[in-house]
């Protein structure tokens, strides 16, 4: 029998039993849609958390440190493929007091190599990277925290958390020269030594809203000088004066994983976004499998309907099947025709389920944020861009495979039964 004729044959049967087939398709649709929507919650939450992670930090960043406090072998690391930049920042356990006219700021100083910073793609909101020793880059909130004494007093009075900063330096800092001195945390006065630095760049706004960046980035060639001054003034050596962190930047996100793994093999402790994502993925893989499993139960319940419908179809057509066999239809063909019918129910059910699921998912993502927003208070919710339900094509494929195979498996026994029909017995049936 030609495939087209088989399809015709099956569709003719379906048309003759519209209502019954419709109800069965409906059950299959509901089962499959339930599966997709349920699993889409897992995909949605995972997506939200992934985005959160990727937004929060430089995604090509890999943090490395040695387990025993020894120095890193920079030359070895730089040979790893796809390593773009190795940024070795050193912070000092000391306050850096900056003075601009009558304004001042107590902040942190970070010693770094600007060539590597540039390679790592350090983004500036203003200005350029330093090229000379006495040029520096300051944090995004540096200007607004440069306060006069009067402003500082005013600020201390305000206890409200979200209050707008009062005062601060309103003009561009680019080209301005600040005078910097160091002050130990234990002392009330700054050391007498002062250095002039010219601000040539301002960093980008930090990704996290609550993060206040008032750091100053200074060329690492100053390290020895600062240490000398510290020892002269403090009168002792501080082994913890410098604290270094090394961050490696890969050329793109896709290489983070390979670089992370290679560094691990070298025996370093490594922390990167890929590590975090991997843990997240492992957790959500289990979570999604669980959801799909629960959803599959709904599909299985729907399959009982398919089994019933097909069994009835076979029983009803016993005589016709007998005639077909008598005039030369092979058992294989009979089986195929019935399997096609149950597959048809499964396929139509799945297609409808996919359409419905996308609609439900869309509505959920539209309405739920409003509901949650109203419950939490509008303001707090504005920043949260949550995906409640996400249906990637993989989920559609998984659900389709489950639902269509379950439909075909439940149609299997009735189809087998059809092939076993005895011709003589069937022909004897009443018309």
């Amino acid at each position: 029998m030609l495939f087209k004729d088989q399809v015709d044959f099956v569709s003719q049967h379906i048309k003759k039993n519209k209502l019954r087939v419709f109800m069965t398709v409906l059950a299959a649709t509901m089962g499959c849609a339930f599966l997709i929507v349920l699993a889409s919650i897992g995909f949605g939450i995972q997506d939200t958390m992934r985005k959160e992670i990727l937004e929060d930090q430089a995604i090509t960043e890999v943090e490395v440190y040695t387990n025993n406090g020894e120095a890193l072998d920079i030359s070895q690391i730089s040979e790893v493929e796809h390593v773009n930049a190795i940024v070795h920042r050193t912070s000092m356990d000391i306050m850096a007091v900056s003075q601009l006219d009558e304004r001042s700021l107590e902040g942190n100083m970070l010693l770094t190599n600007f060539v590597e910073e540039e390679k790592s793609n350090l983004q500036l909101s203003e200005g350029r990277m330093p090229t000379k020793e006495n040029e520096i880059v300051v944090g995004y909130q540096f200007a607004e925290n440069l306060l006069t004494d009067a402003e500082r007093k005013e600020m201390e009075k305000i206890t409200e958390e979200d209050a707008e900063p009062i005062g601060g330096y309103k003009e561009s800092l680019i080209g301005k020269t600040i005078s910097m001195s160091m002050q130990s945390y234990e002392m009330d006065e700054a050391f007498p030594e002062k250095w002039d630095f010219t601000i040539v760049g301002v960093t980008e706004k930090p990704a996290r809203d609550w993060f206040v960046d008032t750091n100053m980035l200074v060329d690492e060639s100053w390290k020895d000088k600062f240490q000398e001054v510290y020892e002269a003034n403090a009168g002792n050596e501080n082994p913890d004066l410098f604290y270094s962190s090394t961050k490696i930047y890969t050329s793109s996100l896709e290489h983070v994983k390979s670089v992370t793994e290679e560094l691990k093999e070298m025996g370093y402790s490594v922390y990167s976004v890929s590590e975090q994502l991997e843990q997240l993925d492992v957790f959500f893989m289990a979570f999604k499998i669980g959801l799909i499993f629960v959803g599959t139960i709904a599909v299985l319940i729907a399959s009982i309907g398919i089994f019933n419908t097909m069994t009835m179809a076979v029983t009803e057509r016993t005589r016709e099947i007998g005639v077909m066999k008598a005039i030369g239809a092979s058992p294989k063909l009979i089986q195929r025709l019935f399997l096609m019918e149950s597959a048809w129910i499964g396929i139509i059910g799945t297609v409808l389920a996919v359409i419905i699921s996308y609609a439900v998912s869309f509505l959920a993502n539209w309405i739920l944020p409003m509901v949650v927003g109203a419950a939490l208070g509008e303001d707090e919710f504005q920043d949260l861009s949550m995906t409640f339900s996400l249906i990637p094509w993989q989920l559609v494929v998984i659900a389709s495979v489950i639902s269509i195979s379950v439909a075909m498996i439940s149609g299997w026994r009735p189809a087998r039964k059809a092939t076993k029909i005895d011709v003589i017995h069937a022909l004897r049936q009443e018309l």
Partner: protein, 232 residues
């Protein structure tokens, strides 16, 4: 064309555990020549239908061999038998056995569909045959919109559409009045003469048996010797 050799069959009847053995076919041996019309007559329960079912491959006899067109059919599996029937046999039943949800045209077309013949080709052959059996007018009718005689013509057309060398008919006129019966018998004779189709007809109606070249009489699962007379 058909060689039946020493065919035996026993049915088990009754409740499980207390079955009774009922021998239905007892060592049947006969031959049917190509182009012959053969009638098998006998009392009800003598085993006529069972014999036909074994030759047609609807069931296997316990013993014996059946050779059709040079092919031993007893040991074929279900799929092979179905294919063999499709290519070699046509069937005419007492109660027509048409597909209720197919029109006369579609019923006749069905064996061609099973053979995998394309729609265009099917249409021409069915139309040709419809004309031959005189059913052009009612091609689009469903079986329940046809008279008994028309239904039997449809079923004959369905049996003939694949040009099988052998046609089996089990009480072909059993459900028809005598006038319609005459029409059908004339049609059978015509098909036999013009197309050379071999017919094996089961009947207990003498009129039907009279159109046969040879008559086999069955009694209690055996052929009654001496009654294989040539009629025509």
């Amino acid at each position: 064309m058909i060689q039946v050799q020493n065919v035996n069959h026993t049915f088990l009847i009754g409740k499980k555990g207390k079955e009774k053995k009922v021998p239905v076919l007892k060592g049947l041996t006969f031959e049917v020549e190509k182009g012959e019309v053969v009638a098998i007559v006998g009392k009800s329960g003598s085993g006529k239908s069972t014999l036909l079912h074994t030759i047609a491959g609807f069931m296997s006899p316990e013993q014996g061999s059946i050779i059709v067109n040079g092919q031993e059919t007893v040991h074929l599996n279900e799929t092979e038998r179905a294919k063999f029937r499709l290519n070699n046999f046509g069937f005419i039943f007492q109660n027509f056995q048409l597909m209720p949800r197919l029109t006369a045209f579609e019923n006749i077309e069905l064996p061609l569909k099973l053979k995998g013949i394309a729609a265009k080709k099917r249409k021409t052959s069915v139309q040709l045959l419809l004309k031959k059996v005189g059913l052009e007018e009612v091609a689009d009718h469903y079986p329940n919109e046809l008279s008994g005689g028309q239904q039997q013509r449809v079923s004959i057309a369905r049996a003939l559409i694949t040009n099988p060398p052998i046609l089996f008919a089990d009480e072909p006129t059993g459900s028809l009045d005598s006038e319609t019966e005459q029409d059908i018998l004339l049609l059978i004779q015509d098909l036999n003469q013009t197309m050379g189709v071999t017919f094996v007809i089961i009947t207990h109606d003498e009129e039907v048996a009279n159109i046969a070249h040879r008559k086999f009489r069955m009694h209690d699962g055996e052929l009654v010797k001496g009654d294989t007379s040539n009629v025509i």
